[in-house]
């Protein structure tokens, strides 16, 4: 047993309203730069829909992930090491810009400079690749909320697999949202595809990162990742990917997408797993077994033997404690309501999903049944608006049974809690029908419905906290905005060459302290702060101006306008 820790996420799809706040804050935090305009470390896809990049789930076409060979071993679907090296000069299976979209901006300048005329000036779209006028024909979320109708949806690779059962008639249409980040897989095929060895999995927390100094831009990772969550920065020529906001995770803060999630649908916590079992579990023969195989590599932190082995493996005590309190463990292993996204890619993804229950109650009520009666509910799970087969293609390699079990549990919880909510006697037969105790069902309800920040995000800080207090480097100068003095700050060898410019903006620790403490956070801050909101403008409150300078220091005028007479009361 080789115990390793992994930071993992679960998203509760029933709560996602498709507001894209996670995408926007992620973009602002990580990819608000030239060269990565088209890059969305976090994106929210409408299902059914083509996804981003278009039809990325069609692995016959894009060749991502692993494939099991006849001998029962795994190799990247796009080919092994030798084939990779021979196709290094032109990657045969790389999505082009058209499969994402051509990034653009608008010619706002024209609005200000257009001569007077009869027509209102308009800001025309301009391509960010060529600078020429362009036509906007596709974007990261062009098919949001079933936009484009059947014409676009017909190309959904998942829908194509189940389409004979699923109709997209208007009155039968279904829709749910699928927020996606990098899966930070236990068996990452992007890392396996990287010829330079620049993509690595951090041994401490399992976060998969690209070493920007070692990446040589061979682009094999873009093909290797079946989720297409590695992007090629076309200005710097380097691969970039979701970082699980590691600077935040290291100090115990949730990722920015989780922090800003309006629906509070994301959960972050630790999972302990047995690294020795991963390769075997990822290579089980039947794709339907992959869900269970992945669950079998997780180690129960409550088991004293596991805790001892974890300590022996160098995992700190507080991490083991955090693993015990992990909401991820509860959702995946205890309540069994979270499912992996596309286990059939055999990468052992670590961002899991609670499938959406969809408006089942309304459907039942419309047909004249009591929508909250558990027996009607269980029967109706199969008649859900979102077809189980569709969910199964997403989460369990097409096996409907685990999905049905999850939806039954969610439906049962709903029915059970409704009675409690209405002051009726709890019906203990309901939890029993889905194999749970009333206590478990209540705990699951609390975790899914009312868990607070500290319960949703159980993140132990890394044990190098002090480093970030002292060192905060930005890779880009803050003056580097378009038209700014640092624009196109480049070394002599093209875009962004040279060493990064250190920028001391603000440490994450300071930010956290300011966000969470009630008093002044900066030692020595008190006398310098004044609440201007309740200052009536009269007099000079103490601390309105900075403290006097050392008179012995010399320099500067001591009298005249603008000089504060410190002796005045």
């Amino acid at each position: 047993m080789r115990v390793m820790a992994q930071v993992a996420m679960v998203m509760n799809l029933d709560k996602c309203i498709g507001c894209h706040t996670c995408s926007v804050t992620c973009k602002q935090a990580w990819t608000n730069r030239s060269g990565v305009e088209y890059v969305w470390f976090n994106n929210v896809e409408s299902r059914p829909g083509q996804g981003y990049p278009r039809t990325y789930q069609d692995q016959e076409k894009w060749q991502g992930g692993w494939v099991r060979t006849a001998t029962g071993r795994l190799k990247p679907r796009a080919g092994g090491r030798v084939k990779k090296l021979f196709s290094i000069f032109a990657n045969p299976k790389m999505p082009s810009m058209q499969d994402y979209y051509e990034p653009w901006t608008y010619d706002y300048e024209h609005l200000l400079t257009a001569p007077a005329g009869n027509d209102f000036p308009v800001a025309r779209p301009k391509s960010l690749l060529t600078g020429q006028a362009t036509k906007v024909t596709w974007s990261a979320n062009w098919d949001d909320s079933l936009g484009g109708g059947n014409e676009v949806l017909a190309a959904d690779p998942i829908l194509q697999k189940v389409s004979d059962q699923v109709r997209q008639d208007y009155e039968k249409a279904f829709l749910f949202f699928l927020p996606r980040i990098c899966e930070h897989c236990l068996n990452p095929s992007c890392a396996a595809s990287c010829p330079s060895g620049a993509i690595y999995k951090r041994a401490e927390d399992g976060i998969v990162l690209v070493d920007q100094d070692r990446c040589r831009g061979w682009r094999m990772c873009v093909t290797g990742c079946p989720y297409k969550k590695i992007y090629f920065n076309h200005r710097t020529g380097k691969a970039e990917k979701c970082t699980f906001c590691f600077p935040r995770i290291e100090i115990g803060q949730p990722t920015i997408c989780s922090e800003t999630c309006v629906g509070r649908l994301r959960y972050i916590g630790l999972m302990l797993y047995d690294a020795d079992k991963v390769a075997k579990a990822a290579a089980v023969k039947d794709e339907h077994d992959l869900y269970d195989a992945q669950r079998s590599v997780f180690l129960d932190p409550h088991d004293p033997a596991v805790a001892r082995a974890a300590l022996a493996a160098g995992i700190p005590e507080d991490w083991i404690d955090a693993a015990k309190r992990s909401p991820i463990w509860d959702l995946i292993m205890k309540y069994e309501v979270a499912l992996p996204l596309h286990p059939e890619y055999r990468t052992m993804p670590m961002v899991w999903y609670i499938p959406p229950l969809s408006p089942v109650v309304d459907v039942l009520r419309d047909t004249g049944h009591d929508g909250e009666d558990p027996h009607n509910l269980f029967g109706a799970v199969d008649a859900l608006r979102i077809p189980i087969d569709y969910l199964a293609e997403l989460f369990t390699a097409g096996d409907p049974e685990p999905v049905r079990a999850v939806l039954n549990r969610l439906a049962a919880m709903r029915s059970y809690q409704r009675r409690i909510n209405l002051g009726e006697k709890p019906d203990t037969s309901i939890p029993a029908a889905v194999g749970m105790t009333p206590e478990e069902m209540n705990d699951m309800f609390r975790l899914l419905a009312i868990a607070k920040y500290e319960q949703r995000y159980v993140i132990p800080a890394a044990h190098a906290e002090d480093a970030h207090r002292l060192e905060q480097l930005g890779t880009e100068c803050s003056l580097e905005y378009d038209g700014g003095p640092g624009m196109y700050q480049t070394g002599p060898f093209g875009e962004a060459s040279g060493t990064p410019v250190p920028v001391q903006v603000e440490t994450f620790h300071m930010l956290r302290e300011r966000q969470t403490s009630d008093g002044f956070t900066d030692a020595g801050d008190e006398p310098r702060r004044v609440n201007l909101l309740n200052w009536d403008g009269n007099g000079r409150p103490e601390g309105l101006f900075p403290p006097p300078r050392d008179p012995g220091a010399g320099g500067g005028a001591t009298d005249g306008p603008g000089v504060i007479d410190e002796d005045r009361p």
Binding site: L129, K201, G217, R219
Partner: protein, 252 residues
């Protein structure tokens, strides 16, 4: 041996090699982040799909040919039973095929670079200068070969250019050997050393990071965070905090 000869065939090559080695070391230390292919495949695939492998495989064969022709002494191949005629035939045949592949691939790549909007927009001045030098060396080399073979039975550079080049490596440069070499070969050699000197300062450095280690490394790479706190090397003037001593650490 006059001054010009010494300058051209002794001083200049050594200078060029010093710049190549020193420049590469300096670039690697200063600019690991800029050390990349800067691929433009994202912008355009159709032409690249054919032209890039054609050029790269062509140029790799050209490289092998040069190693065989320049670094391996004629006496060795003759000892192995390969006559000058057989060697020449093989060199001309393989060389022409590889050279043509390189030339066509390069022409397609340059045309693509000029004609595809996004690719052209992403081309730096440095790239343009590099293309001129690189294309110059390739064209001059092909021209020298073609000229020598059309004019007569070819030119046996293994009697002159090769020993001269090797003499550079064991630090007994013999400029005399280059005196009687046809002008076309001389120009090719001069251009090649200009390319070597320019090499570390262009995107061509990606050739030095050919990922051969991939063949032997395990698929998934694990890395521990630096045992020293912080993820990046210290900048001048930044003090390191002491690492927490109580943290148990696995050995790497």
């Amino acid at each position: 041996m006059n001054t010009t000869d010494t300058l051209l065939w002794v001083v200049y090559p050594y200078l060029s090699i010093v710049v190549l080695i020193g420049g590469t070391i300096w670039r690697y230390r200063y600019d690991k982040f800029g050390w990349t292919t800067r691929s433009s495949q994202l912008y355009e695939t159709t032409v690249l799909r054919w032209a890039s492998p054609m050029f790269h495989f062509g140029v790799l064969f050209v490289l092998i040919g040069h190693i065989g022709g320049l670094l391996i002494p004629k006496s060795w191949t003759e000892a192995a039973g390969i006559t000058e005629h057989a060697y020449h035939l093989m060199a001309v045949f393989v060389g022409t095929v590889a050279g043509l592949c390189t030339l066509i691939g390069m022409a397609l790549l340059i045309a693509r670079r000029r004609l595809t909007g996004p690719v052209f927009a992403a081309t730096t001045k440095n790239d343009k200068a590099m293309y001129v030098v690189l294309a110059g060396v390739i064209v001059l080399g092909l021209w020298a070969t073609v000229k020598a073979n059309i004019a007569g039975g070819g030119y046996d550079y293994r009697e002159t250019v090769s020993p001269w080049l090797r003499s550079l490596f064991y630090f007994q440069p013999d400029a005399q050997l280059m005196a009687a070499v046809p002008a076309s070969f001389k120009i090719h050699v001069i251009a090649a050393f200009a390319l070597f000197a320019f090499w570390p300062f262009t995107r061509l450095v990606h050739a030095f990071s050919a990922p051969l280690g991939y063949l032997t490394r395990p698929y998934v790479v694990y890395r521990y965070r630096d045992p020293r706190p912080g993820l990046r090397p210290t900048r001048p003037g930044w003090d390191r905090p002491a690492a927490p001593a109580d943290r148990p650490r696995r050995t790497r």
